[in-house]
Amino acid sequence: MKENPYTARYSRRDFAKFIGGGLVFCFSSRGLAQAPKGKMPGFGPPAGASDWNAYLRIGADGRVTVFSGKIEMGQANTTALAQMAAEELAVPVDSIDMVMGDTDLCPWDMGTFGSMSVSVYGAALRSAAAEAREILLELGSERLSVPVSELKAENGAVVAGSGKRVAYADLARGEKITRKPARKPAVTTPAEFKVIGQSVERLDGRAKVTGAAKYAGDLRFPGLLYAALVRPPAHGATLRTVDTSEAEKVPGVRVVREEGLVALLAEDPETARLARSKVKAEYEIPDTKVDQKSIFEHLLAKAPQPQSQEKRGDLAEGEKAAVRIFEHAYYNGYGAHAPMEPHTAVARMEGDKLTLWLSTQAPFMAQTQIASQLKPAPGKVRIITPQVGGGFGGKSITSNEALEAARLAVVTGKPVMVAFDRREEFFYDAFRPAAIVKIRSGIDSAGKICLWDYQVYYAGNRSAEQFYDVPHNLMRVYGSWMAAPGVHPFNTGTWRAPGANINVFARESQIDIMAAHLEEDPLEFRLRNTSDARMRRVLEEAARRFGYSPAPAPSRRGIGMACGIDAGSYVAEIAEISVDGGRITVRRITAAQDMGVCVNPKGSVMQMEGCITMGLGYALTEEIEFQGGKILTTNFHQYRIPRFSMLPAIDAFVVKNDALAPQGGGEPAIVPVGGAIANALFDSTGLRVFEMPLTVERVTGAGQTKAH
């Protein structure tokens, strides 16, 4: 097995060689997002293949190469995709090499977000691999003079009943043409799975434990220059004067001043940063007063027109039926992605061709942007994505280091690295936007939910869909995670399951408030109010595994639950907490997830655990502090991401559902974490906190707010 599926070892010429020397399978993009029409020539998928969406290649040595525009950032999609290809091709997983996120070699892809690697790209890959298997059977049939119907594909060979066999490697050798099979083959069914459903070890494990895995900042080229850029003290600040004379005296430093860019370059990053510290720059900072206390009022005042969605029945009817109406607002401030690897770009110009090694979740979007923004316009832009040290949505949008590195490579004629330091990472992050959810809900005389009036501001509608049986329901969505300029004081973007975390926190808190009013057990209230079979199942499975016994809240036990749908998967989580002086300690979390066919159980559970652990941060501690465009949070001593001391006992498991194709796995389990903990807090104390994170201050201050 290749230790490091690192794409830089392939060149354009290699790809031509693949086409010439091996058997290449192309498959079309049915059901997949297409590359945008009218793309500039020379950008996007390999020549002549702009309408093809993915590639498989069987080499003369029998090894299989899979090309995917997705990137690996820890979620082990590399491994799951290799399994899917191996399953359909009937080859061992360790005979597969994955090439990911290289715009020269891989088919166009929108980006690695939305938990779609396995569910969307993987589905197409399986079809392609099944088609490839069929072609191999046809070729084997010709070679062995045995009808296709009497052949099977097995362990990298076409095998006849008589025992005659021919290896894929022997079939691939010399074949230069691509062909279409006579019949469209079906993909393997769950009953036949040999590789899908197995907990195959992640392919990049050894490289990552030995330090061999290469991230963008680990690349070295002769003449490489490290750049440190002069950064403004606040978003929206304008550079008035800059004096680089002291910086220029630092030996080995080159200063580049261009429009909107003051950069110090040196052969090592310390010298570049030392020089940067000697630059005197004056800025005009806009007088923006908004801070994390006043932001919600500001945002509500600037709210865009709502889009009405998910309209059912009539709210007035629902109100009439209600014996009790509950009206609450829920809040969450700005959050940082804070991946351990800060954004990094390495740019190299060769003639008019730019190659950019980039820590990104969206290499093809970066390619298009850089190609259009770089002056003079490059003849060609290639983005190569090495290992990415965490993304969580923070590397979905092309950030400024990419263009800066490219511009500096053009100016200096040398390879240039721009790597954010931690302060820059916290400054330029496209934060999870501050958001508000307002819910007006009602219960009828039978204790059923009869009214659901849902308004969400700046988070979008992800995971807000109403799976409780509500006859009178209206959702109004006031903007999403990207807002008009001037609304948020800085960049906002997609944070793991964008918007879903506040949506689920709000809905599941509101559900618990209604259950508590009825003095009914929160699980029973949920089950009595939803007929969604998948949701009922994950709730019941979570409760069983947790050892849940029903009791109305507040039971003083500190147990709370929440559930949600995200990326096609259903998740229910039950948390048990203790509270001491307002400080919440999560003791354990049980999580049940129905994700359809589970390609790699161990990998999926790892993602669930990762979601739950990361979710503790947005629920309990993580909050960006700012004054206008000034980001006061600069490093991890202020931004408290989850640590070992916060680790609860986590029991995460997958509820088998092979009747459904694979659904998302990278994000769903994070969405119920905040709601489950908030509900556990109420169960423990009788106090309801409406704003995340549930800090000591908010918990101790919650006594003044009426809980329900």
Binding site: M73, G74, Q75, A76, E201, R202, D204, G205, R206, A207, K208, V209, T210, G211, A212, A213, K214, Y215, G217, D218, R220, Y226, E267, D268, P269, E270, A338, P339, M340, E341, P342, Q387, V388, G389, G390, F392, A419, D421, R422, K602, G603, M606, E609, G610, C611, I612, T613, M614, N635, F636, H637, I641, P642, R643, F644, S645, L647, I650
Partner: protein
């Protein structure tokens, strides 16, 4: 002013001609080309840059290179014994303690130092000992389990 600083790096002699106040992290990464040691925060908070100096953990982003003169430095590239992985490296793979991998080198070296000091770590001691190494993917549970498994083996 540049000076020649000699030390033992992963069992071999090393010498670099650099200013003595250059940080060990960047000398390793840019002068020597060992990039397994990562920059995470630059202020010694996150632990991604953890290396061992004479067997003790050091945040290499804060450590002047002159301070390691004459000492033994172990980086992630030197944790395995040739092709044989260190038991912790093997355990990290088997227990799925690796996701994006960026914190992994620091986690492994910090855990190796903990086990070196006390081969029979309890779960509490592991949690306390790993507290100042940050992971954003949320691999904590499996990191603890991986270290526990090695500790158990050593306990026999």
């Amino acid at each position: 002013m540049k000076e020649t600083i000699r030390f033992t790096l992963n069992g071999k002699t090393a010498a670099v001609d650099v200013e003595g106040d250059r940080k060990l992290l960047w000398v390793l990464r840019t002068e020597i080309g060992l990039t397994g040691t990562k920059y995470g925060c630059g202020t010694g908070i996150c632990g991604a840059c953890t290396v061992l100096v004479d067997g003790a953990t050091v945040r290499s982003c804060m450590a002047d290179i002159k301070g390691v003169a004459g000492k033994r430095v172990t980086t992630i590239e030197g944790l395995a014994d040739g092709k044989n992985l260190h038991p912790l490296q093997q355990a990290f793979i088997e227990h799925g303690a690796v996701q994006c991998g960026f914190c992994t080198p620091g986690m492994l070296l910090n855990a190796a130092a903990l086990l070196e000091r006390n081969p029979k770590l309890t779960r509490e001691e592991i949690l306390r000992g790993m507290e100042n190494n940050l992971c954003r993917c949320g691999a904590h549970k499996r990191i603890v389990e991986a270290i526990e498994s090695v500790s158990r083996e050593r306990r026999g």
